[in-house]
Assembly symmetry: C2
Homo-oligomer: 134 residues x 2
């Protein structure tokens, strides 16, 4: 089947540098971070503003794409679950989906609150929330 | 910057065949559809079940990746907005994000309600909702 090529549009600058120390969910203490966009995509940022809640899509470049099943939190006593029924970063197409609050927009740099992605993580897309999103 | 390769894990079977006729949001009348997964990913589906609300990620293969700004609904009297502040399918990495309800799971075929993706759209990922998703 045809493969498709993703083009990173920027990257994350965050104090989180190790996967082992990263929170699994934003409410577990994700820090503020910068989204640093490439100059070529400046026009696509027009309309982003402080106070917005947006969806950030990233490429989890440290994930294992061969993983199809996982045990919750590595608990060997529980049965494995298919990765499509989990939020494991290890999955065939490791696209990270993050619900973040925009704190500031400074040219190509966007400050956000509550991002659990690691420093250097490539950014793929930013989308506003739709009514009905959860 | 490094590019990343997506591997489609399946495709959408839907009565929607034309982009012009597709609803913009599920509440505009998106029909039921089948998600047809490749055999290689069967194990990753373990745990998906009828009644679940899941996030489906697709590759919008008919999108224009060079588009950086759009006018809302093609209205020439309104100023253009950056695509990262819109849900336009035309964007540098056209990843579709769909909130769907699982109606049935039959082996590699998963029936869902409320999917606005076109017939043949490649599937990239399925994720459960997290507390705090919107």
């Amino acid at each position: 089947m045809t493969a498709y090529e993703l083009r990173p549009i920027g990257h994350v600058e965050s104090p989180l540098t190790r996967r082992e120390g990263a929170p699994r969910q934003p409410d577990e203490g994700a820090p503020a971070a910068w989204l640093v966009f490439q100059e070529a995509y400046a026009a696509a940022l027009d309309g982003l503003a402080p106070g917005q809640e947006v969806l950030l899509l990233t490429w989890l470049d440290r994930a294992d794409r061969a993983t199809l099943t996982v045990r919750p939190r590595g608990d060997a006593t529980r049965p494995p679950t298919g990765v499509f029924a989990t939020r494991s970063p290890d999955r065939p197409n490791p696209i990270g989906l993050h619900d973040v609050h925009v704190l500031a927009v400074e040219g190509l740099r966007v400050r956000v609150r509550g991002l659990e992605a690691l420093d250097g993580t490539p950014i793929l897309d930013v989308k506003p929330h739709l009514t009905g999103d959860r």
